[in-house]
Symmetry: C2
Subunit: 447 residues, 2 copies
Amino acid sequence: MLAVIVNMIETLLKNKKYSSLRDVLSAVNEADIAVIFGQIPPDSLPLLFRLLPKDLAADTFALMDTDSQELLIRGFSDNEIKEVFDELYVDDAADIVEEMPANVVKRILKNTDPNMRQMINEILKYPEDSAGSLMTTDYISLRPQMTVDDAIKRIRRTINDAETIYTCYITDENRHLLGYLSVKNLLLARQEDKICDIMDKTIVCVHTLDDKEDVAKEMNRYDFVTMPVVDDEGRLVGIVTFDDAIDVMQEETTEDIERMAAISPTEESYFKTSDIKHAKNRILWLLILMLSAAITGTILSKYEEACSAIPVLVSFIPMLMSTGGNCGSQSSTMIIRGMSVDEIKLKDFFRVVFTELRVSIIISVVLSLVNGVRIWLMEGSFKIAAAVSISIVGIVIISQFIGCALPMLAKRCRLDPAVMAAPLITTIVDAASILIYFSIVTRLFAI
Amino acid sequence: MLAVIVNMIETLLKNKKYSSLRDVLSAVNEADIAVIFGQIPPDSLPLLFRLLPKDLAADTFALMDTDSQELLIRGFSDNEIKEVFDELYVDDAADIVEEMPANVVKRILKNTDPNMRQMINEILKYPEDSAGSLMTTDYISLRPQMTVDDAIKRIRRTINDAETIYTCYITDENRHLLGYLSVKNLLLARQEDKICDIMDKTIVCVHTLDDKEDVAKEMNRYDFVTMPVVDDEGRLVGIVTFDDAIDVMQEETTEDIERMAAISPTEESYFKTSDIKHAKNRILWLLILMLSAAITGTILSKYEEACSAIPVLVSFIPMLMSTGGNCGSQSSTMIIRGMSVDEIKLKDFFRVVFTELRVSIIISVVLSLVNGVRIWLMEGSFKIAAAVSISIVGIVIISQFIGCALPMLAKRCRLDPAVMAAPLITTIVDAASILIYFSIVTRLFAI
């Protein structure tokens, strides 16, 4: 369907049917327009963009990708920059400014109105991953002594600046946060009610320097559409809106998943990342893991004698190593994800270890039985089957222990648990598996 | 801090300071009360719960865990059940009913008001993972011919039933969805404006039977706080709210991550899952992977001769297998996550394959150089170093190809890409690595 629409728009453009184009675009949601614009040849973009109604243009602009935004800004007159940026919500404007090269930023800040410029700078001064950098300074604040009628009048007067009116915040004259009021309760109240009598005084807020991941978690915990952000003195300086919180949650999850696969996380999307960058993000861990796997190899070479004496022993190595690795990564995945959604806490350490111990006993018995019988039937040697089966029991139990304990220890040492991820655990488990296997084999066969 | 509060509450309870308790609880957010209640001994729970103001009680109840909810309901009188459930939002009530055992459900439905009962049943009739099962039937609908003044009056009249008033939906007399209007625009309009003149007619909605994961993705794409749900005839039957959409996104991500670690996903939390269930969720994949790793072993045993001729060759096997496995799981992770956030699409297949090919060439050159030099220095044999280095080049390229191609092929066959996950790819890559290594070695050493 996207191709059809893009095609239609290109045809209309070619035939100069501008008024139809404007009608078509006005009937489409801004998020969809941004997607469509991503497919249009760049040289028709400025013309198309100018056909959009003013407020739709700003909303669409905020949703386009950075490259298209830069292309458009470079083509804009000073006046057009002013028109678009003054319509944007402050947090979107700050995000865009942050991504642009210096000369473009200069043009933007020169052409936006002083109030907007100050708010953008306000947001840009906070550290990258802080609540301050995520917030918008567009919010509605009310005073406790206002009546509902005053409040509604004030909202109508200031509403155009505010990204959201789901929740109004009540502050004193020094901007200290006193409480909040949902628009729902505002509409439900009588006109003459005082705000201080109907507001909710249970204050939940975050600090400007709080980590944005924690802010998103708190918002999810309380089901908040917006979260107030206060400074050191408890003064309200902005709010974080749910759409930005969702984006943070998604980014953080992607980072976790990438770390668990031994990839250094990147903020760029897959196709936007250069080949060299892709390789760089992966190669460090590959080198570390490759060299640590060489240690497993060294251990293995200590048992050359055993391997030459009973060559078939070698053929079980891949199976034992992979089973150990898989058990370890299953445990570590459960624990890492459990910790990142706050279901498993550090104080649960022993509870987790005992759970994994019990689970690993069940698993190891089943796996060693299946495997023992298979090997006995296929190789005809009960002794070999027994050696492999006993090894599996030891390997599964040790692997699950390492898999659950390491991520929790990492967190205890204030490291990201996901870094202690599947591949690293697999490498440790590999070495352990080889050791367990050969110490059982050498004892059993007295090599 | 939690322990402090729990302690304080227990002391107040013991000393029968009920009115202070009520004051304390009224000053705390419902989400926090639910957490605190989770730490209180179950036998004091009913008493504490009865101390909560009525509306706070219902909100807290919705946020408690299923076990505590069941415990409370079993202790409730019929009248208490009615009081709590009539205060709940319909989607929360339906969620609770769904989790309760049959005899509790019967008591709940007997004691709720007929209107509520009908709405709960309405939601419960949709399939488990559908938009219908996720939606609430509490929403505000307006008629196009109403004036803003009429609309605000209607909202004030019906507001208590509606979970959210962020967006009002406009329907005709047959409940067909005609457009929407944010409360912001409603407040901004003049009293005499007609709703049909100020409403937004670009309709974005989902169908009752749409997968809830897609609904969450759409809401994220459009930054919607609520998403309207329509039936086959395009009639509005409910809305999905952002808090439920966020929960769906989190659940689906957890499922993806679990599948990628070869664990069958479960809806239960880690500690709520029994040992047997934990083992069951993991053992099937472990068996499959163990038996397929046995194939790698069989391939390996074909080269027994080479291993006996040059025993040191065996010691490189763990390193080669782990490097292949890690490269494969890095690629598959990038692609699986890229597909699940809709960044990589099926039509990008060749683009992805070529990207991974270029990246794998860079990575393989670096890894084989580092490793070749290391082995040359440590083993003193240029020929062995060359054999391992050439193998690494082949293994890295093949592994990244398998790692990116398999998840996309799985999606093409309408399978969950995450099932083609790291462990399965690792197993395939292991076999490929052994084959590549020994075909190079046997040729080079003419064994």
